[in-house]
Symmetry: C2
Subunit: 425 residues, 2 copies
């Protein structure tokens, strides 16, 4: 993409009302635009990143057998009354149309549980794995953490349906691994801990995936022996020992919950009569699990984990572009037979042909401004072409997260870039 | 996809409260599930179709220079008060959070116009082309046309921003062609008419794209001489003559509006002070155009246009699968050295390897049921394998919209199928 053809405007300062690092950098970098507290437009640059996050999650959900569908946001009041959550859930947006009341879906158990009846009558119809990427709405009193806590956000919500506890337990363990792979691929694996949380009244524990960051609103207690963690909610009950290995030294850290998995058991199948006939024809309630990841929160968390004083440092898998290409014009427009611009065009094309996403900054602004923008926007690799580099038939290559600048021969540039990106030519 | 691994349940009867053909067939075929009047879940099978519709539209919008973004559904009241539509728009859903009022976006002029100020200061910043696929909400008194008219639906809304009328006019003509390509690729091009509609108080005409169908709630007046049409709203003003060629014989037909394009001029740039400095530094208002297509309505319209007594007949571009594969077991399980099931597996794989999407009906149900389902679900090509066909090293191939059944040698099956699909091997 040529910068002159892309809707990207960066700012030297963040909006005054943004407090969080993620919202400051994502606003300055032209990824998002705040419409109201906790409500953001995802701009074209941010959309590139969000789509990559979505696709990584989708791939892992399909890998564990999930099928994608799309449920509505407008939920009839009746569904929410059946579970008692019309009254009990404080963050539910409600609206009226004539004599009809709707909730704006903050989650979808009340919709998918009756829907699943369509597919379930016998034990042979189970298990079932369904998921969606869908906009959620939650009244949010403290919407001040930027993208980490929104009134409106896209969530991947996945629901599983099982015959028995063993089926649910096995699948739950499988999903733990799928979630670990997601956060690994999103570039926050190292800082993300499987964290024991309360299982409500139905199962002993549920699990959160918590990513360490100063921006986090949660505190978790890490066991350095087995690398698991415990959340604040249950630490007292556990008398400060690790539920995994029993060790008593737990280190407190601030963290943000990037995902959660929960055994719902029959909490939602009961009110909706989601039953099946077992091998002996006996009616039994379906057991359910649910598994969520908020996309905007994932976006914000990646930024909280990966940034420095100059801007964002995107992990390659989710970077909007892999390469920022910048030309420095010499005092004369020619170097040998080709100008810098022509070489930029040539290298832009040769990288694109290899499937590398390049943002070529072809604007008529100072080189300094281009350097500042490339760092702020956080593109993993910067390539600079100047009369000086071209004298040596080379370009300068710098990785965003390293200080070293290397001269690379144009003839071997493709393979060097692919190598940095961990791909085969 | 193997049917046994896919969440698809079909029904011999449509829900009693569905009146429209599209909702009846999409419900019976397992594409959608009605949650409430005008509010549908898109089931996994329907999601495959909707994604194809979305991708065709996306490709054509990118081809005319569009950049994708995502705006929120929760709109602050202030934005809608600026244009007066907080009061004037009857189908606006409104909700409250504390002392803050929101509208649920039925369209996004009130959001994108102030947003565009981010990118526009000088004439050099124009034109701008932005679009999204986003969930819209509209109070809908007559939500009885199934997917054609919903309270909640995904819309592709595209907004263009220009320096002057010539820029807007030229782009508007370009978009007309892009829309014609979209409807052509969706398989409803032949029945879709560019239809003159009222331009409001700002331009002489706007245009609708109207698809002929008995299910349509609109009436349009077709000029058979130049193949354009006029909508009901302006036919009286025109004294029943074609605004394109002047002919006075116009044929009335029922139709559904599948898209519209509109010159907004300065209707939204004025209230939001969306101005730019021209070549002489003079401030001028930006001229805007908007261009919408509702995805669920497109889905429903395709079904209204393409069905018969047995079910849906999907155009290949949007079919959830291109091939329905069915095996008929012989009285003995063996034919030569391979059973029918093994051949089904083999052909399933060889077609998949060619990038052909196959729904292999591997269920343990009668062949009759499989045939009925393949027709109802509307897959363009049906392949049947039986001991009889295998004796001739062949399979039966039938196109959904033709009566003829052909025997095709297994050795040339791939190329025959690709040929039917209009693709090169």
């Amino acid at each position: 993409m040529k910068r002159s053809h892309f809707y990207l405007k960066t700012y030297p300062e963040a909006p005054k009302d943004e407090i969080s690092v993620n919202a400051k950098l994502l606003s300055r970098g032209g990824f998002v635009d705040k419409l109201s507290a906790g409500i953001y437009t995802i701009l074209p640059l941010g959309w590139l990143v969000l789509k990559k996050i979505e696709n990584i999650i989708r791939e892992e959900m399909i890998a564990v057998g999930g099928s994608e569908l799309l449920m509505p946001s407008l939920h009839p009041k009746e569904n929410w009354e059946k579970t008692g959550r019309w009254k009990s859930l404080e963050d539910l947006y409600k609206l009226k149309e004539g004599d009809k009341d709707f909730a704006l879906g903050p989650t979808h158990e009340e919709i998918i549980s009756p829907l699943a009846k369509r597919y379930v009558s016998s034990y042979r119809d189970l298990p079932i794995y369904l998921f969606q990427f869908q906009n959620k709405f939650r009244k949010e009193l403290r919407a001040k953490s930027g993208l980490l806590r929104g009134r409106e956000f896209i969530m991947k919500d996945f629901y599983s349906f099982h015959r028995d506890e063993k089926g649910l337990d096995d699948y739950y363990e499988k999903m733990k691994k799928a979630y670990a792979r997601v956060f690994e691929r999103l570039g926050i694996g190292e800082k993300t801990y499987l964290t024991y949380a309360s299982g409500g009244s139905f199962s002993k524990y549920s699990h959160e995936f918590q990513t360490l960051t100063e921006a986090g609103e949660d505190v978790i207690y890490i066991c350095d022996k087995c690398s698991s963690a415990v959340n604040k909610e249950i630490i007292e009950d556990l008398r400060k020992s690790c539920p995994e290995c029993g060790q008593r030294i737990l280190r407190a850290e601030k963290a943000v919950e990037v995902g959660n998995i929960f055994k719902l058991m029959t909490k939602y199948s009961d009110p909706f009569n989601l039953h099946f006939a077992d091998e002996n024809g006996k009616q039994k309630p379906v057991l359910m699990g649910c598994y969520g990841i908020g996309l905007q929160r994932a976006l914000g968390t990646i930024v909280e984990v990966h940034h420095d004083g100059s801007g964002i440092i995107w992990p390659e898998n989710v970077a909007p572009f892999q390469v920022a290409l910048i030309g420095i014009q010499g005092p004369s427009a020619e170097t040998g037979s080709k100008s810098v611009s022509l070489w930029c065009e040539k290298i832009y094309k040769q990288l694109k042909d290899k499937g590398i996403e390049v943002l070529y900054d072809d604007r008529d602004v100072s080189v300094g401004e281009k350097f500042v923008d490339a760092d702020l926007v956080g593109i993993p690799i910067r390539i600079v072409i100047s009369p000086k580099t071209l004298e040596k038939k080379s370009v300068e290559v710098k990785e965003r997260n390293k200080n070293e600048i290397r001269l690379v021969q144009v003839s071997v540039l493709n393979e060097k870039i692919l190598k940095i990106l961990g791909r085969n030519g």
